[in-house]
């Protein structure tokens, strides 16, 4: 059995901070004549106000509707006319905006991000238009398909009690329709100061040139105080919580289980064994739950485990969870699956073979490296490492840190996943009409 030595990515990382508090990450790599520019704001769905579910995401859309020197739809037009692509995404704990361009578009991308960091130009008309667009996005991704929002939107309200952790981050249509221009301004004022953001640039550029361009365009962004991140803490479960719902378009029963895990930032060393455990349980045909549930018992047709609700263990804060989700054959029984999962967790708790652990670490490392293949992915990972872990260089260290996870700590993690700490959501199929 070959277990590969885990290599580390080889690109330089430089970080600095502007007077207005903006943190900047530069990762030059002349490998291909392209450049990735990402801005990550330290605000996500957890921070949106009560009565405004979905607002963090709606606001992300509004950041594309124009700013001081950029008209509606012009951000897209400028980036695309430079041969580039752009997007934004809203997560539980952060929101990112990113652009990938041929290398000669670097200054343009910096200008555009700096311009909207000074504030979007939001009108009633644009807001109404984007509320419609977001509603269509929710229809595509949640309402008009089987298993929409399962489990990432369906499990938090079972596991958590407080609004920030439990609510639907995509938003209710009622809340979206109630959003006002004033709400948007208040959200920008509270959460979008430069001091609450990280700018990250990766790809083909000279660091001195990039640094000068960053200063030219961002130094003039007003200095404002960053918001104080509130605690979202909630006590762990002491008795199991279990709910179910009927999905009219689902054809197979499904179940997702979740257990609280240590905080991915403040308790990183205790959290990492859960990342390894997730892979050990469900990565590939050699993994414990694929072997057991799919091939031996035939009680599941698909199974996946991941740490954190949106499967981004290095771009999340607590409280969060390790999730195991399974789709069952049409006549499958969730209790049978959960009992088998319990048995397999007990087996892991009884001890993990070093050879198995080595293989899983190689696999985790390869997946992390692969996410650096694109300078866009790299820029985004560096930025979230800076936001959540205080140092972009962490992005290149996660594989090594995971490599240091011991068999004993993985066993302890599995041991902690007891039934009384479990939150469960079941999907009852109503489909096949």
């Amino acid at each position: 059995m070959t277990v590969a030595t885990i290599p580390a990515p080889a690109f330089a990382i430089e970080t600095f901070r502007l007077d207005n508090g903006l943190r900047v990450v530069l990762a030059p790599d002349p490998g291909a004549p392209v450049v990735g520019v990402a801005v990550v704001y330290d605000v996500g769905m957890r921070s949106e106000p009560e009565g405004r579910t979905g607002f963090a995401h709606l606001f992300e859309h509004m950041m594309f509707q124009g700013s001081h020197n950029v008209g509606k739809a012009e951000h897209m037009r400028h980036v695309q006319s430079a041969g580039g692509t752009f997007n934004g995404s809203t997560h539980i704990d952060y929101t990112d905006y990113f652009n990938l361009l041929p290398a000669n578009g670097l200054e343009l991308a910096l200008f555009l991000e700096a311009d909207r960091m000074r504030g979007p130009a939001i009108t009633e008309e644009n807001l109404e238009n984007q509320v419609s667009v977001v509603k269509e996005e929710i229809r595509v991704n949640v309402l008009n398909r089987p298993y929409g929002g399962f489990p990432w939107l369906k499990l938090p309200p079972v596991m958590f009690d407080t609004f920030p952790n439990a609510h639907d981050g995509y938003g209710s249509f009622g809340d979206l329709e109630a959003a006002t221009v004033d709400d948007a301004q208040a959200f920008f004022d509270a959460f979008y100061p430069a001091s609450n953001a990280v700018l990250s640039v990766a790809g083909d550029f000279e660091p001195e040139t990039a640094r000068a361009l960053v200063e030219r365009h961002f130094a003039g962004v007003e200095a404002r105080t960053a918001p104080v991140l509130p605690s979202f803490a909630e006590p762990d479960l002491t008795t199991e919580r279990r709910e179910s719902y009927v999905d009219e378009r689902a054809t197979l029963p499904a179940v997702a289980m979740a257990w609280r895990v240590p905080d991915p930032v403040t308790e990183l060393a205790d959290f990492l064994p859960y990342v390894v455990l997730g892979e050990l349980l469900t990565d590939g045909d050699a993994s414990r739950l694929v072997e057991r549930l799919i091939h031996r018992d035939r009680t599941a047709t698909a199974v996946a485990a991941h740490a954190t609700f949106m499967a981004e263990p290095f771009a999340s804060r607590g409280p969060t969870a390790l999730l195991i989700q399974a789709f069952l054959p049409p006549t499958g029984d969730a209790d049978t699956v959960m009992a088998a999962v319990g048995e397999e967790l007990a087996r892991v708790a009884g001890g993990v073979d070093e050879a198995e652990l080595g293989r899983i670490k190689a696999r985790v490392a390869a997946q992390l490296l692969r996410s650096d293949d694109s300078v866009m992915g790299r820029a985004r990972r560096l930025a979230t490492a800076e936001v959540f872990h205080g140092d972009a260089r962490y992005a290149t260290r996660f594989a090594t840190l995971l490599g240091e996870v011991t068999a004993e700590s993985v066993a302890r993690a599995a041991e902690a996943m007891t039934q009384n700490r479990r939150a469960v959501i079941e999907v009852v199929p109503g489909g096949n009409q």
């Binding site: 020197n69 739809a73 290398a103 996005e137 990565d283 590939g284 047709t301």
Partner: protein, 436 residues
């Protein structure tokens, strides 16, 4: 205060890597690309499979790694995991495709595993049955997805009895597959002659070639070559309405013939598609999304397949705006000739297209995918450089001519999947409808 938007620095020329190409004595074409960056290797293997039974090919793909005479599924999976690797397979009407990735240092191990499987995959009864059930379960879910449903209806309507008319097997077809069918398909069709292996990554091409020769030399034999016949002419007709009771959105699909990559009009067609609906700054997105708010991602693309090419508009809109949205799409399509783009609109799309080639070839996986897709149409990676030059030469008159000749709603097939009770009435006020 108004600040000028900065211009672009001088353009960086497209720099494509030069692949190492070899044909092994067993007939396998090998393309190797050294692309430093992350220490990963990307592997793509494409095996011609025209006229293979689709259900059998799907089961074969799912069970390809389920065991050989000398190794169990678990042993194979463990070897892969040990080099940070994964391998997967899929089938379409033209080919069986194997796709994989691993740490670059583990490439020879991954190739060894691949070689063993190609020569000795045994499709053991138990895992085969599991994979068969999983495909059936997966199909039952897919059949509830609007995109899957409308694609199936559109393929059938467009291509009828041609193999492209039926690209997804039914559960009953999958259930009828037996192990001997799968073994017979492997024996008759999984051969190196006519197949292509692409490896891209932080690799030494010479060493990688030696590893390929060592691991895949035993793969041999040749089956009867089967060719895919060209697509039939598309027959326009009434709007086909596929009823999906309770659907809160309607999936609108409009397809019409396109020219292939080697046709003289391909570059103009590429740009015309962008201007119409192929990128965010297109007419379709600006109108349907940014002005009307009808849909999240209206789009148009040109699909190039070995049997032919087609241009496809896809728009998912709220049920209540189905009829006005379809009218807007038709108007934008007609507008490509009637309100032909000027030099500025063309130039914007051109710059986007030229940049897209650079972005798509800036990663290891991008080069692997592009090399493999172009090879399926008989083209080398360097075709992208020639295509870029042709994009530079396209004029507004070319766009207007191509749009007038080919981008007409009158020559298109339209399929709408939605809640029939809600959309039939409004749609039939403006179009002839055939309810499926």
């Amino acid at each position: 205060m108004s600040t000028a938007v900065p211009g672009l620095a001088p353009e960086v020329p497209l720099a494509l890597p030069t692949p190492v190409e070899r044909v092994l004595p067993n007939g396998l074409s090998v393309t190797l690309v050294r692309r430093p960056g992350v220490p990963i290797a990307e592997v793509r293997l494409s095996i011609p499979a025209a006229h293979a039974d689709l259900a059998v090919a799907d089961v074969l793909s799912a069970a390809l790694f389920a065991g050989t005479e000398s190794a169990t599924m678990t042993e194979i999976a463990q070897r892969l995991q040990g080099v940070g690797g994964s391998l997967g397979a899929g089938a379409d009407p033209d080919r069986l495709a194997v796709s994989g990735t691993c740490l670059a240092s583990g490439l020879s191990e991954l190739l060894d595993i691949l070689g063993d499987i190609l020569v000795a995959a045994d499709y053991p009864e138990a895992p085969l049955a599991v994979e068969q059930s999983r495909i059936i379960d997966g199909l039952s879910v897919a059949e509830q997805q609007p995109d899957f449903q409308v694609s199936r209806a559109l393929d059938a309507r467009l291509w009828g009895d041609h193999p492209y008319g039926h690209q997804q097997p039914t559960a009953a077809e999958v259930a009828a597959v037996v192990r001997d069918d799968v073994r017979a398909l492997h024996a008759s069709r999984l051969h190196p002659d006519g197949s292509r292996l692409v490896i891209v990554g932080d690799i030494d091409p010479d060493a990688a070639l030696a590893a390929v020769e060592k691991s895949l030399a035993a793969w041999n034999g040749s089956g009867e070559p089967r060719h895919m016949e060209p697509l039939p002419s598309l027959v326009p007709g009434p709007v086909v309405l596929v009823d999906r009771p309770g659907s809160v959105q309607s999936a609108i699909r409009i397809a019409y013939p396109a020219v292939g990559r080697t046709h003289d009009d391909n570059a103009a067609q590429h740009l015309a598609n962008l201007i119409y609906g192929g990128y965010f700054t297109s007419r379709l997105v600006m109108n349907l999304r940014e002005t009307k708010g009808y849909g999240y991602s209206p789009r148009s693309r040109v699909d190039h397949s070995p049997a032919g090419s087609v241009q496809l508009t896809s728009v998912d809109v709220a049920t209540e705006v189905t009829a006005p949205a379809l009218a807007e799409v038709v108007s934008e399509l007609r507008g490509m000739a009637e309100r032909a783009p000027d030099e500025a609109e063309l130039d914007l799309a051109r710059r986007y297209a030229l940049g897209s080639v650079k972005l798509a070839t800036a990663t290891q996986s991008g080069i692997a995918n592009y090399t493999s897709a172009l090879a399926a149409c008989g083209l080398p990676l360097s075709w992208l450089a020639e295509h870029s030059e042709r994009l530079r030469a396209v004029t507004p008159a070319d766009i207007k001519r191509v749009a007038a000749e080919r981008m007409s709603p009158d020559g298109a097939v339209t399929v709408v999947l939605g809640d029939g009770a809600e959309v039939t009435g409004p749609l039939s006020e403006t179009a002839e409808i055939e309810v499926l």
